[in-house]
């Protein structure tokens, strides 16, 4: 027995070795490529600020300071407390109302004067109204160059803008599929603090914030070719809103520029027309706002932001981290003019004369800082996960940050406006730093992959330093009070500046650390992973060769190693498929590409059968089958693009057909099983069990669907139980049978009379049918049809393959395995994946399938179900079905030698299948490495990468399991061998 198991291991260890290699390679690559971040579910609250060091004497001084005369309170702390009593939260609200006009994909050079660039291009200087305001009213209006962080896709950017964080590709959170933001964010804070938010335009906002807006006018954003629907909708609702007072924050998201870029590119007439249209709109908006900005007017203290969420390249693409994509613009204007401009040392602006000879200044802001700055302006708590800094220039634009409405202002006339502003700003920065520190601490504590500890220590050091300085000043001012006010007057400017610098240093180092952690790829790690992957492919190939050698050792008669046409053909099909993943278009059309290649192999087969004048029917059936698959793939793809399918269908007849056809197919499947299983004698009890189990499962499926359908109106009392009971029972039966099957391997009766090929067939059939019921119920009504399709497809492949085997090699198991049927098998599996309505994106997962039979969500259980649904028909069934390719062809031979050849061939088939999968995945990996700065990397390549990698690992694992299962025969076989030798 020991000898036998070593022989078994001798055969199948390469499979395990490859699994391990792939795991290591993928793990390393993924660590470098897929940046992950944990979403924290904590929220900021108004009262939190009491715990901050910015209010050191809060608790004990609250009563005293409030009772004492406010006129003598000059310390910052006290002023904050005064503010607190005014009903404010973390900061004093500086603006009353906010209008955000968001122009999607607004390049920096759309807004900034053309003199800032080397060359004047046709699309520049189109938004004249903004340039004019920025040059005429330098204290209240300003153009910023807003620098976004990749990924520069709208959804990620909106998330980044509102949370003040750096959204990565995988934000590990508790949102299961839905993109709604669960983290703390600006909109959430606004709503919590009683601000009324209205939204119009791009419906992405509603995906992110499903129930935050008091009023929303969403317009569909998916149709890129439609330049005007969203914009016209925005315009229609924007202008009436400007006259109303039922909102505090108004967001209008225009999409025209983004769409024009996607379709026509930046240098095109539609783009320029769009920009000119926007100029008119903005002119009108500003005019309306101005008209009502008088004292007591509706827009007396309104703040206007005209901004982009990301830039775009000249082709109109965005998503990556190229300069053109991350540079967008932000125009800010306060309708109430502030008394002065920001102190020069905080001013990052560069000024140039514009084409009219007027001086225009352009500053720079990180998009990261947006959320916190706006929160500070509106006086709401900063979003918990924000790591931005309150931008001094944007903050200073609002008049509200300058005029202290309390009595202080009148009391200390000798204080310049500037110092007063800096005082305010320092207060804000203190709160800001405290909040960022709190977030970093909590993130490191709760996230599995936190920050490196030495970086955390360094940051804590910087924070402590800044905080020391702060408390020095605060203590001084407390001790001194009014008496040494003159002295403070001398020193304060200087100390304030130091303090601001210290806080800024802290915030900048945090942002830098976060960027390195969340937006930069670890190329070294990726390289190592890729290298190991390449090596694994080579080793894989060596293993296949080794299997061939084993084969020839046991059967030395055949030494034919000529490279046939069909080998080249099969290889080129795999190569084409592998190379196709290098282009985003082919990834989108992956299902079509697979079916195209599959049909090509089918035509190749047809030609062969034409040549040999047999199996003509099979070849044609195969082609017809794929053409049916092809149409289902297209339906799936259109679902991908449009959302939901047509087929609402009022016809009763159609509905009944849709109900009945799957059940009829199910019966057919059951009949198929019935006819295949009892063909043997040795597995009688087992096969009886299997048969009954599977048939009962099928009946349960039929029952489940009948109950679910509304064909019989609202039926049956036990609906509540039946709905979950049937699927659960099916899972249980499937699992039980699987266990039974595995155990049967160990205790299987030895019967020399049955030939090995037949046993293999029976085992395969048993395995497939055990899985089938679970897969079918998860797939829903398409399940039986798809299963039937795959059975027919597989049968055609086997028949066609056998025909040319018989033709070419009359000797037993001649030469190595022909890779063409394996390639076809693989392509068929890929087609099945797409034709069952999946595609390689996270919204391509059929989440509904995870809840068949269960109502509540348990991560592991639902993940397993989802995996079976997603990969069932494209990975699990094809891999367990692979033995058909070798077992059926040799069923007429009986001797022991053949059995060994059979197993070696099976191993070879498994290895080739694995190699094909690995090769495709390899190209996906290469693709994401090359395209890691590509615009579609997060939208397309990364999901594809995740799916491929999961698919590959699953394939490897399944091949390991399958080889353990199918190779059991050796153990049964060897004792007999020895007996016979004796």
């Amino acid at each position: 027995m020991v000898g036998s198991s070593t022989r078994k291991w001798e055969l199948i260890w390469p499979v395990f070795f490859i699994l391990i290699l792939h795991c290591v390679a993928i793990l390393l690559f993924t660590r470098g490529f897929l940046l992950t971040r944990t979403e924290l579910s904590s929220f900021s609250h108004c009262s939190d600020v009491l715990h901050s060091p910015c209010f050191p004497h809060q608790s004990e001084d609250l009563s005293t300071s409030s009772s004492s005369s406010p006129s003598i309170n000059l310390s910052m702390t006290d002023r904050l407390e005064v503010g607190d009593r005014d009903g404010r939260c973390w900061t004093k609200p500086a603006v009353d109302r906010l209008v955000i006009v968001l122009l999607d994909a607004l390049r920096f050079d759309f807004v900034a004067p053309s003199t800032f660039f080397d060359e004047k291009m046709p699309w520049m200087d189109k938004l004249q109204v903004l340039q004019k305001l920025a040059s005429d009213e330098r204290s209240s209006a300003r153009i910023f160059k807003a620098i976004a962080d990749p990924p520069t896709t709208s959804l990620q950017r909106l998330k980044g803008l509102t949370t003040g964080g750096l959204p990565t590709f995988i934000d590990v959170g508790n949102s299961f599929g839905a993109p709604a933001i669960v983290e703390d964010n600006l909109i959430n804070q606004l709503v919590r603090n009683g601000k009324r938010v209205h939204m119009m335009g791009d419906d992405t906002w509603l995906q992110l914030f499903p129930n935050h807006f008091e009023k929303s006018y969403p317009f569909p954003s998916f149709n890129v070719k439609d330049l005007d629907t969203v914009d016209n909708g925005c315009i229609e609702h924007l202008f009436p809103s400007l006259y109303r007072d039922d909102w505090d924050v108004l967001i209008a998201h225009f999409l025209g520029v983004d769409h024009a870029g996607h379709i026509f590119g930046v240098e095109s007439t539609p783009m320029i027309e769009k920009l000119e249209q926007y100029n008119v709109i903005l002119e009108k908006v500003i005019k309306e706002l101005r008209n009502q900005s008088g004292p007591g007017g509706l827009h007396e203290n309104t703040f206007l932001l005209v901004m982009g969420d990301h830039g775009q390249t000249l082709n109109g693409d965005h998503g990556g981290g190229a300069v053109e994509e991350v540079e967008t613009s932000l125009f800010a204007m306060s309708l109430k003019e502030p008394p002065a401009t920001v102190p020069s040392e905080f001013d990052t602006s560069t000024c140039k004369l514009d084409s009219n000879g007027k001086k225009t200044c352009v500053s720079s802001i990180q998009q990261l800082d947006f959320a916190v700055t706006i929160a500070a302006l509106l006086g709401v708590p900063f979003p918990f996960g924000s790591i931005g800094r309150v931008n001094p220039e944007l903050y200073a634009l609002s008049a509200g940050t300058w005029n202290q409405p309390t009595i202080n202002a009148t009391n200390c006339i000798n204080w310049s406006n500037l110092e007063e502003w800096m005082q305010t700003y320092v207060n804000v920065l203190c709160v800001n730093s405290w909040q960022v520190k709190r977030y970093i601490d909590e993130y490191s504590a709760s996230s599995v992959i936190g920050f490196p500890s030495e970086d955390l220590l360094r940051i804590a050091g910087i924070y402590a330093q800044a905080q020391d300085k702060w408390s020095d000043i605060v203590n001084n001012s407390f001790l001194s009070g009014k008496d040494i006010q003159d002295k403070r007057f001398d020193t304060s400017l200087c100390t304030l500046r130091e303090l601001i610098d210290a806080y800024s240093e802290f915030l900048e180092s945090v942002a830098e650390l976060a960027r390195s952690k969340w937006t930069e790829f670890d190329t070294k790690m990726m390289g190592v992973g890729l290298g190991i992957f390449l090596v694994s492919l080579f080793i894989h190939f060596v293993f296949i060769m080794r299997a061939t050698k084993l084969h020839q050792v046991s059967f030395p008669t055949i030494g034919d190693s000529r490279i046939s046409l069909r080998l080249i053909f099969a290889l080129s099909m795999v190569a084409i498929r592998a190379c196709s993943v290098l282009s985003n278009s082919y990834i989108l059309a992956e299902g079509k590409v697979a079916s195209f290649l599959l049909v090509t192999t089918g035509i190749f087969n047809l030609r062969y059968s034409f040549m040999n004048k047999k199996m003509f029917m099979e070849a044609v059936v195969f082609l017809l089958l794929i053409s049916i698959l092809r149409f289902t793939i297209e339906i799936g793809l259109s679902k991908n693009a449009v959302g939901t399918v047509l087929l609402t269908g009022g016809q009763v007849a159609l509905n009944i057909i849709a109900e009945i056809v799957p059940i009829l197919t199910l019966i057919l499947l059951g009949y198929l099983l019935y006819t295949t299983i009892p063909g043997n004698s040795c597995w009688r009890i087992l096969s009886y069990l299997l048969l009954t189990g599977t048939l009962i499962s099928y009946m349960l499926i039929a029952l489940h669907w009948t109950l679910e359908s509304d064909m019989f109106g609202k039926p049956l009392v036990f609906e509540g139980i039946g709905r979950n009971f049937a699927p659960q029972l099916i899972y249980a039966i499937g699992f039980g049978l699987l266990i039974l099957l595995v155990f049967a391997q160990v205790f299987m009766p030895q019967k020399g009379s049955i030939n090995s090929g037949e046993i293999l067939v029976i085992k395969t059939v048993a395995m497939l049918f055990v899985w089938s019921s679970t897969v079918i119920i998860l797939l829903g009504r398409q399940g039986p049809l798809v299963s039937l399709g795959s059975i027919i497809g597989g049968w055609c492949i086997i028949r066609l393959h056998n025909s040319d085997l018989d033709q070419n090699h009359s000797s037993v198991g001649a030469l190595t395995t022909n890779p063409l049927p394996v390639v076809q098998w693989y392509l068929l599996a890929v087609c099945l994946f797409f034709s069952t309505g999946h595609w390689c994106a996270f919204d391509g997962l059929r989440y509904g399938a995870a809840f068949i039979g269960f109502d509540e969500f348990i991560l592991v259980r639902q993940a397993v179900l989802l995996t079976i649904d997603t990969f069932g028909v494209s990975h699990i069934l094809p891999i367990f079905g692979l033995p058909f390719l070798v077992s059926l062809q040799n069923s007429r031979f009986q001797n022991k030698q053949v059995k060994r050849i059979l197993l070696v061939k099976l191993l070879q088939v498994f290895l080739i299948y694995g190699l094909i999968t690995a090769m495709t995945t390899m190209f996906t990996v290469i693709c994401v490495t090359i395209q890691r700065r590509h615009l579609m990397v997060w939208g397309l390549f990364a999901p594809k990468y995740v799916f491929d990698v999961v698919g590959l690992i699953l394939t490897d694992v399944l091949i390991c399991l399958a080889s353990l299962y199918y190779f059991c025969q050796i153990e049964d076989d060897t004792p007999q061998d020895t007996v016979m030798k004796k």
Partner: protein, 230 residues
Amino acid sequence: MSPAKTGKAKIARNGEVVVSFKDAFLVHMVCGLGLAVAFWFAHNVYAVNLVSDPAQTLNLIWVIECPIVVILYSLFRWNPDQCSFLKAAMRGLLGLPAGAILNTFGAVVLGAPVGSQYMKRTVNWSILMSLFTVVPAASVFGTSWKDWHRLFAYSKPTGVLDYMICIPAHGAAIGAWFGAWPMPLDWERPWQEWPICVTYGAVAGYLAGMVVSLGFTVIYGGRQQHVKGD
């Protein structure tokens, strides 16, 4: 056009089935010129091209190309004694719809879009493809299954006439297959529509096939040699 055709006819009557290089060259030349004239005609007289109106352009092309191909290949019909020119031409014309159905089937299976707006284009395209692939063989061999088998299953042409039929036909099919590649790309070009680039591919493959067949004719000339073509 017509003088060339009649001139050819005279030459062809002399030879039995063995075709000289000059004949082969003339046949290919005229077929190629026919295509060029058809394109020119569509562009200048009807002011349409493949991009602006694929269905009509394809229609014009096959209408012009059809008589050329049928007449030329009927001249080289197998067994000219037992089979009149008219019969061969009729076979060719019957082969046209049959080949079109085959081509339509192939295209749809491979992924050509179906739908009422594509119907006209697909029909016209497959008729053109049929002219490239099936019609010459139908004119020459008729229902001789053995020859069809030799040409299209084994792809083993023997002799100049076989080269003339087999290689351009394979060229057109392979060209069309490659021509489908750019279709899914997101370049947003009008020619990526079905069946424009496929037609370009097919025509290019057809022309290349002609050149290759001439090459084979030069190399293996009069000798009836076994050549394995692809």
